[in-house]
Symmetry: C2
Subunit: 191 residues, 2 copies
């Protein structure tokens, strides 16, 4: 607690609190983050913190919403590139993100938050966008095929599972994770 | 409620309650199953029901434990067969199970129960066994490769995601689901 309270507009204050929370949730398990600590780090009262976010869960959900928008932004494809390059670049960005937000990624992929309907909706919306981007880059006759569409949704889950597994074990290299995911997609799209 | 209460030994009574619960949870969303209804269907008092299971969640967890043992039994491989046949047979059994226990499978793969540490442990133990079975059927030099091991864990998640997706949409046939999963595995194991 630094004791010095800067006056910030509500929007900036809110953004500051989310930013602090995002860092804490990235570095530590969900259960080891206290909302009081966020208030202290921001130099605001706990009452003000609760004025912005009704509960730790609401705070976490809002961070997930912001992070989800950010990850979609970071992984946005350069549609002038061939599809393979677009996918590879998106995958790179996703793997980087999981490394830099290890605990936050864990919190949404397992643990108590996983059963939360709102968190699940944020996550499935994000997966849907990722899948639509790959579909958009594919030739129309492949894009309209229901088996391909099912395969792509499965692949996005595969990537998440492999990245989670890799965070836990680190038994292969980051590049091997990437190559494995690309190989899986290649196998699925080849008919 | 039929009003007729048969005398059963505690073990048989417990098995009967689990059996009734399993059917209800297979057919209906978790939130639409009431533990009182289970008691009524079994012709026992609600007090007795709570004597066996402390809460709906505990009841559900116990059903999952029983079901998980059952599914591992149903999908047990015939180790005299080639690995591809073992995997195909296991996959068949798994897909059959998801069809016959649609809502139960949904309950453990999404929804509030997904955030429950005990349910997750049951599920990840089951996935671990499934993965070990495939590993055991592979040649030693492939089995010991960390990339293969990571790929297999990812594949098991892929199968789950594809089956869940298929339950929701039914946009492809059961056989297409199976072929897609086998193709994905084939692509992953080919080096």
């Amino acid at each position: 607690m630094n004791g010095v309270r800067k006056r910030l507009s509500p929007d900036l204050r809110r953004a500051q609190l989310l930013d602090i929370g995002s860092k804490l949730f990235a570095d530590r398990p969900y259960d080891e983050v206290w909302i009081e600590e966020v208030a202290d780090l921001a130099g605001v009262s706990r009452g003000l913190m609760y004025h912005y976010f009704a509960s730790k869960r609401d705070f976490f959900a809002e961070i997930m919403r912001v992070e989800s928008a950010r990850i979609l932004d970071t992984t946005a494809p350069d549609t002038s590139l061939p599809v393979a390059d677009q996918v590879a670049a998106g995958l790179d960005a996703y793997i980087r993100y999981t490394v830099e937000h290890e605990h936050g990624v864990r919190a949404i992929n397992r643990g108590a938050m996983l059963g939360d309907a709102e968190i699940q909706a944020i996550l499935s919306d994000e997966l849907e966008v990722q899948q639509q981007r790959i579909l958009a880059a594919l030739p129309a006759e492949i894009r309209e095929d229901e088996i391909t569409r099912t395969a792509l949704r499965g692949w996005v889950s595969f990537v998440r599972a492999v990245c989670m597994d890799w965070l836990d074990r680190r038994s292969i290299s980051e590049d091997e994770v990437k190559q494995l995911c690309l190989r899986a997609l290649d196998g699925l799209l080849r008919t």
